[in-house]
Symmetry: C2
Subunit: 250 residues, 2 copies
């Protein structure tokens, strides 16, 4: 039998071990993994041994990290690879022109998940990273995805407390409802200082061939009057991505 | 107890299911997964249900694919993320100048694994893709990594039959030994038509702060006399990556 006495399966425990790795610390000790996953140290140690054996985790000195093999398996058949490959040439051009962070986000649960980010030394401060997440109400990409997302999701986010980052962060359901309506009407959003006082996020929707919004394309630029000027370039890039994806799937 | 009657653990079976996804087909039926993983259909079906439950696999119609959640977990703490983030600005510049495929590969087992690739519509034919692999003796990146790799690996590859792709492919141990010596002497390689008659791979080593070769940076260009001209740009980009990685780790 595959289940252990607590009723949790080996597979569920394995998932908990692998998911104890976060982006801020890629090397963990066995006891840190045990603590984060809430599993007994001996169970943790045995499952880590097995995961190392199949290359999904790797040892470095006395610590453990995600193995290249797991990255490879997850990436080669990733559901986001087609979107990323279609988007990348347009993101590169945009990044070359704007000279600031350029990123592509998708809706994942109640957050925006960034599947790609181009950045350059000297660019403005930016909290996102590849495979990083952000609350929907605070990120320009998140607001695009929420505005075009399922109405149940909108109601849920509108019903929860909205985490405040700066004095410009959207903080009331009424404000958020207004912003979502604006996003649908205008086809873009500008978030000046919502997350960090000195930066503005500018985002537009990316649609598939049927018109459905599948991602948000955004740049993070200095918080000044030039931010508006990025909108046409973003919109043109988003149209290009749709065109490439539509052609590729035919 | 976690082991089933064949002696293979639940974890090993889970790994086999997830690894049955390849880059050429991202959507599989349960019976295809069972066939590829060599597991009984009922075991396969039960483990897939569990993997879908935790978001590591997703269902689409009657098929199954790798879940965004698995990609996220594997990517956010990926051992290659630091290298990739250091390399990306230089790869973008190179890609903008060369206008052809620009890629970053690491040694993984007996093959080169491509962890990043920038490409553009209209570029020359290219077999690689992100998280794709290539035999070491046939790829310019692979030859760089093999030339600086462990001597046991070199001896093993030299002792095995070398797969032939074109009439230019390296096919004898003597040829390969000569090429590896040249790579170490010159610090670059040009593979004209080794993999495909009309293209040339040009690659250089990327070193860490201690001088150890950790990756290969390459471009795939048309097979003509201009290919040589890419070498200085590739070498300068590789030096830039080393500099950024050395600064970041201080």
């Amino acid at each position: 039998m595959a289940r252990v006495h607590t009723g949790e399966s080996v597979l569920a425990r394995t998932v908990r071990i692998v998911e104890s790795f976060r982006s801020d610390d890629s090397l963990l000790t066995v006891s840190e993994i045990a603590r984060r996953s809430g599993l007994h140290i001996s169970t943790t140690s045995r499952l880590i041994d097995e995961l190392v054996g199949c290359g999904w985790l790797e040892r470095e000195d006395r610590k453990v990290r995600i193995g290249v093999r797991l990255w490879e398996v997850a990436s080669r058949a990733s559901p986001t690879l087609g979107l990323r490959e279609a988007a990348m040439p347009f993101m590169e051009d945009l990044h070359a022109v704007v000279g600031q962070h350029t990123q592509l986000g998708v809706l994942e649960g109640d957050e925006v998940l960034f599947i790609e980010r181009l950045t350059a030394p000297g660019a403005v401060v930016n909290y996102t990273r590849i495979a990083g997440r952000m609350p929907l109400h605070v990120s320009s990409s998140g607001l695009i995805l929420l505005a075009h997302g399922p109405s149940e999701l909108q109601e849920r986010i509108l019903g929860e407390p909205l985490k405040v980052f700066t004095d410009k962060t959207i903080r009331t359901p009424r404000q958020l409802r207004g912003v979502l309506a604006d996003v649908r009407r205008h086809g873009y959003i500008l978030c000046a200082g919502h997350l960090y006082p000195d930066t503005t996020g500018v985002a537009v929707p990316v649609r598939d061939g049927t018109g459905k919004v599948i991602a948000a394309l955004s740049v993070v630029v200095p918080n000044d009057e030039k931010a508006y000027a990025q909108i046409p370039a973003l919109q043109a890039a988003a149209k290009g991505i749709t065109r490439v994806m539509t052609t590729a799937s035919k």
